[in-house]
């Protein structure tokens, strides 16, 4: 079982790595990091702040775009191209396929984020000439970005099990945008009454709370990230992704591959 999941994950990783579109995005992300360096240099006194904000946001956004771009086709593309037929005609359970695909894409995104982070830290070192203890918080922000990738990949994969790539992209991106404002929705719910309050409260709890993962501004100001937030975010991402994966498996187990 583990071998099969590992093989599917590795194949997903290999496919993404050999995909030229992915390279373009990575190169583009590196350019953004580079340009943030230039912006940093022309921002007198707040170079580090500008570099961290721009660089981290670029890593996050490009990762999200890649996650959605590849995630929406993880299952539907395999059905459309019939590559799935020769996989599922083997002793491979459908849930193993889903978990393998998920693991492969999260692995790809983590490796990408790692490369972009190296570029980012190189830029930071160039600008500040030395690392400070507060730069350690940047690693927490990076960790949260990877957790965001886990969430968005799970969502994109879920939509991919029952929808077309285009619709999956729309759903996943919409949820990302709504989730970014999840805290605002909660604030709106607390100010509302009656049915509106219940509706807003429900929606704000159901959508993935991406707002909680965005600590870029905080770490840019060299502020510490509480350990409790790291713990809660980790548990939240694991549980949310697990629920999405379970739903994907439930749908996919019953689906006719026409």
């Amino acid at each position: 079982m583990r071998n099969r999941i590992r093989a599917i994950a590795f194949n997903t990783f290999r496919e993404a790595v050999r995909d030229r579109v992915l390279y373009n995005l990575v190169v583009f992300a590196l350019l953004i990091v580079g340009s943030s360096l230039i912006f940093g240099q022309i921002s007198i006194g707040v170079e580090r702040l500008v570099l961290v904000n721009l660089g981290m946001t670029a890593i996050s956004l490009f990762g999200i775009v890649i996650a959605i771009f590849i995630g929406i086709g993880l299952v539907s593309k395999e059905i459309e191209k019939k590559t799935l037929y020769t996989v599922l005609a083997r002793p491979v359970h459908r849930w193993e396929f889903i978990v393998g695909k998920f693991g492969g894409l999260v692995g790809t995104l983590t490796v990408n984020a790692g490369f972009m982070a190296i570029g980012f830290f190189a830029a930071l070192l160039y600008l500040t000439h030395r690392f400070e203890p507060a730069d350690g918080y940047l690693l927490v922000a990076l960790y949260f970005i990877v957790l965001e990738f886990v969430l968005i990949t799970a969502l994109a994969l879920l939509f991919s099990t029952f929808s077309t790539p285009l619709m999956s992209a729309v759903f996943a991106f919409s949820l990302f945008v709504i989730g970014t404002f999840a805290e605002d929705l909660r604030g709106f719910a607390s100010m509302s009454t009656g049915v509106t309050k219940i509706a807003m409260e429900t929606v704000s709890r159901l959508v993935p709370n991406f707002a909680a993962f965005n600590v870029i501004s905080q770490v840019a100001h060299s502020q510490a990230v509480p350990g409790r937030l790291i713990f809660y975010n980790t548990i939240y991402a694991i549980v949310y992704a697990a629920v999405c994966l379970a739903a994907s498996v439930l749908i996919f187990e019953r689906r006719d591959l026409k």
């Binding site: 050999r18 005609a89 083997r90 006719d256």
Partner: protein, 315 residues
């Protein structure tokens, strides 16, 4: 023990956007394929061949009925170690090389790592692709992809192989090679279930055939027996013009060429025809049963069911 058994296996899809209505893709199908047999599953495009194969592979789920492969229920995942499958118009991960693809599939099929390298090389040689092993599949021609498709279906040395239209899109040489490959797999004792609409391939390879059209199995059996069902005709050649009127009185249309007459008549009229030729002072040159080609059999089956349908409509 039969290699494949289905019991009233059927598939119905719901079609339509708002008001779903059922569409029968496969009528209840009961058939049995013995171990070591090459079974041809024949039918025109859209007849239900691929639906049957997908049901057997559990890529789609039946609306009714059941099936067993190598003595195990279709839902038993362990049976997939024993079967190989080539889908129709296969498309593979084109970012992989042929060697990588086969290694990947061998791993998914549970072939041990130390055995995989040897197995991959052997299969690549067997399908005639050893020189293209390190080429990415996106650079492969259709014929080469079909060979890779067959290679992945046999990489784990399965007992039973399902091939969906294995010769489609191949040039005559490619078809012959695939035919030889199927023949050699048969000689190794493998059971082969292959669907095709290219009848001559089935004719040369199959022990038995089943004919399916519009989702319904129309006939099944040894080709010669099936052909007899449809045919039952004899060809008579004779010399001498005197017997012609007698033969035509039996309903035959005699054709004369270089003094030799020829007629094709139903078997039951053979004795009457011999009597008529003798009465006309003719000399019998030969009497031979008419061998129906699979194509004729196929058309006959499809025509007869067309007639059945017309009768049903008239009723």
């Amino acid at each position: 023990m039969p290699a494949i058994e289905t019991f009233a296996l059927e598939k119905q899809y719901k079609v339509g956007f708002w008001k779903k209505r059922p569409r029968q893709a496969l009528e209840p199908l009961t058939l049995s394929v013995e171990e070591g047999e090459v079974f041809g599953y024949l039918g025109p495009n859209g007849a239900g061949k691929t639906t049957t194969l997908k049901l057997l592979m559990r890529l789609i789920f039946p609306s009714g009925g059941s099936g067993r492969i190598l003595g195990k229920d279709l839902g038993d995942g362990s049976l997939k170690q024993q079967i190989g499958f080539l889908p129709e118009q296969p498309y593979f991960y084109d970012h992989l090389t042929a060697r990588e693809l086969l290694d990947y599939y061998a791993e998914l099929s549970g072939v041990e790592a130390k055995e995989r390298t040897h197995r991959v090389e052997a299969v690549l040689a067997r399908v005639g692709l050893p020189d293209s092993a390190n080429l990415q599949l996106r650079k492969f021609s259709k014929g080469m992809l079909q060979r890779v498709g067959i290679a992945q279906a046999i990489i784990h040395n399965p007992k039973l192989i399902f091939l969906d239209e294995p010769m489609s899109g191949l040039d005559p040489i490619g078809r012959r090679e695939v035919r030889d490959l199927i023949q050699s797999l048969k000689e190794e004792g493998k059971t082969i279930f292959f669907s095709t609409h290219i009848l001559s391939d089935a004719e040369t390879l199959c022990d038995r055939v089943g004919v399916i059209n519009k989702g319904k199995l129309r006939g099944i059996g040894v080709l010669a027996d099936l052909a007899r069902e449809v045919s039952g005709k004899v060809e008579i050649l004779w010399e001498g013009a005197g017997a012609r009127a007698g033969i035509e009185a039996l309903g035959g249309r005699a054709q004369v060429s270089s003094g030799t007459s020829r007629v094709v008549l139903p078997e039951e009229k053979l004795n009457a025809a011999i009597d008529a030729i003798r009465a006309g002072n003719g000399k019998i040159v030969s009497i031979s049963p008419v061998r129906v080609t699979l194509e004729e059999f196929f058309m006959e089956k499809l025509n007869s069911e067309g007639a059945e349908m017309e009768q049903e409509v008239a009723r």
